[in-house]
């Protein structure tokens, strides 16, 4: 990753020196091991603070909506897909955005690291090629990075940014076909099993709305959860309402969700949100052949109508 970091710093410094942009939005070292944190660089000399590693898991497209200044953003594959969708929805002015594209080899999932350490505290960590060295009070283990990546990174089909002004590093080979194994596995279960699992899972939701706030596509002025006239959904943190909240949030992301997994990564309770979000992505792909944020010219699924769109859900004569 050091060569990517160097290239990003250089690009950022150049952009700021030439006053092409007012701010470069990228990642800086975090305050905890295996954590990086979004940062806003405005002075050329601060560009040296930028870095790129396997902990740049947040979707920076979240900070690009309705910006009044000229901004540059360091974008990995899924970030760029969110940017494409936001451009289609007139949330981003393409002229005022400079995209530094970064081919992405996947981001580390802190829940998996915690599971691997089984309660032992992670005091330090180092990325060493394709391995990650985890260090603690009285242990130091080397683990292949692939074992620690987010599920959404493992099933990712677009590691290379789909849109960029400058690409740092070499494009990575793209995997063919689609991988909805997690959704298919869950779908194979009986409705009762699915309902029981989801009810238990969402009984742990604390309604902190980190999923909504972390999602670049969730930017309604007044979210339906906050409405009181009418009150669509209960405000208490109760399993049914929590599940309904997530379901309706997923309805709103139909044909827009870039499957970046930012919601699941932001969830402090580690809920498996991808079971719902990726089901919608899979349906939209199968029904309308549309993959969000991949083709800047293609009209979004819900903004277009083709005569041959399948309608299996309609009642037949």
């Amino acid at each position: 990753m050091p060569e990517l970091t160097g290239a990003i710093r250089e690009a950022a410094k150049k952009l700021l020196d030439e006053k092409k942009v007012d701010v470069v939005i990228g990642f800086a070292p975090g305050s905890l091991p295996l954590r990086s944190t979004p940062c806003f660089v405005r002075r050329p000399e601060d560009a040296a603070g930028l870095l790129w590693n396997r902990s740049c898991e947040n979707n920076l497209a979240n900070y690009l909506r309705k910006r009044s200044d000229k901004a540059a953003v360091v974008a990995k594959g899924c970030d760029s897909r969110a940017i494409v969708e936001l451009i289609k929805e007139n949330q981003i002015d393409r002229e005022n955005l400079f995209i530094i594209g970064v081919p992405c080899t996947g981001m580390i999932d802190r829940q998996k690291v915690a599971r691997k350490l089984a309660g032992r505290e992670l005091l330090a960590a180092e990325e060493n090629g394709d391995n990650v060295i985890l260090k603690g009070r009285d242990f130091s283990e080397t683990v292949p990075a692939a074992e620690l990546l987010h599920d959404s990174c493992l099933s990712c089909r677009h590691p290379n940014p789909v849109i960029y002004d400058l690409l740092v590093g070499e494009p990575l080979p793209e995997k063919e076909g689609v991988d909805f194994s997690d959704v298919n596995a869950f779908e194979a279960k009986s409705p009762a099993e699915r309902r029981a699992y989801l009810t238990e899972e969402f009984s742990r939701c604390i309604r902190c709305y980190a999923c909504r706030q972390a999602c670049p596509m969730c930017y309604c002025e007044e979210c339906f959860v906050d409405c009181s006239t009418p009150q669509w959904i209960g405000k208490s943190s109760e399993a049914q309402d929590n599940l309904l909240f997530q379901a309706v949030r997923v309805f709103h992301s139909a044909g827009r969700c870039a499957d970046c997994g930012a919601c699941e990564r932001a969830c402090p309770m580690g809920l498996k949100l991808h079971l719902l979000t990726r089901k919608m992505v899979k349906d939209v792909q199968e029904l309308f052949g549309y993959d969000a944020g991949v083709n800047p010219e293609e009209k979004p699924a819900l903004a277009d109508f083709k005569a041959e769109d399948p309608q299996p859900f309609l009642i037949k004569e």
């Binding site: 975090g30 305050s31 905890l32 091991p33 954590r35 990086s36 944190t37 979004p38 940062c39 806003f40 947040n58 979240n62 900070y63 829940q111 915690a114 599971r115 309660g119 505290e121 005091l123 009070r137 742990r204 604390i206 309604r207 902190c208 709305y209 980190a210 909504r212 706030q213 972390a214 007044e222 906050d226 209960g234 405000k235 208490s236 943190s237 109760e238 990564r265 932001a266 402090p268 309770m269 580690g270």
Partner: protein, 339 residues
Amino acid sequence: MIINKNELAGFLDRLRAGYQVYAPVKEKDYTVFKEIGSGEEATLDYCNSKIPPKGILFPQTEKLFSYSCGPDGARVEEHIDDRKKVIFGLRPCDAKSLVLLDNVFNNDKYQDPYYLTRRENTTLIGLGCNHPAQTCFCTSLGGGPFDTAGLDALLVDTGDKYVVEVLSDKGKALFSGLALPAAGDAERTAAAAVKEAATVDCLVNLNGLKEKLDVNFYDPIWDGLHEKCLGCAACTYTCPTCHCFDIVDDAVDADGCRVRNWDACMFPIFTLHGSGHNPRPTGKERFRQRVMHKFKYFVDNFNAMACVGCGRCIKNCPVNLDIRNVLAEIQGSEARSDK
């Protein structure tokens, strides 16, 4: 007194005779405080819980009262929980947070019967921290791995047993009649050694912070501090000293109940007026409010910072916005003139 680790489950089952026992229970990848069905479910092998034990005295969702209303009048029925409880194995920082919350729910004009009744009937048995975590900074807030503020008893883990220090009448009442073996000199010296060895590496310089916050409300430093904050409530809902709440009615026609839910200053609707005016319209004002409330307003009112240095907000922030860095940045800038 001492409790051998292999007898811990039995001890907890005996407690369950007289109390509802809440103890740390492993759940998925974290631990939470739950009422245990049997001693086996509890585990003291944990760093700190995901949701603080404040959730036991001040639950996220709580029915205040139910009502049914007709032409002749309204029948209102309170739901006040006065059962005897034990919170077993909580960390000293969480116990101190309850002492801070007492100021809120028992202010100079009103008392909150829901919280205070539970608080009265709850005995706190703390577990000292042999190995404080990297995110802990309790000593910067006047606390410590073996601090006893707010605790009724403290357990010191000396390897194969826990040395019990009874600290209050409630603690005495709980342990009397349980006939636990007394702690000999060996155990006591072992406990002292453990206490000595426990160190908190992270120190956050807080002196002079309040004075800076007194004058830096309009300081442009706030523009940068909040920028990456997403505006979610992951930090406030996992914070042991956050206490803001919302009151809503959950009813069908005129029968229903009034429910209290946790709420957060980070949400725009928290202060949105009916007229549409919002005193805290953007994330900057809301983020500033969170810091100001904890490190200035609470100090003005109750002479203590509303933070115990448990580090949960650091661990749970989706964008790793570390409160220690925020405070250091404020400390770093010399206090600029107000307005």
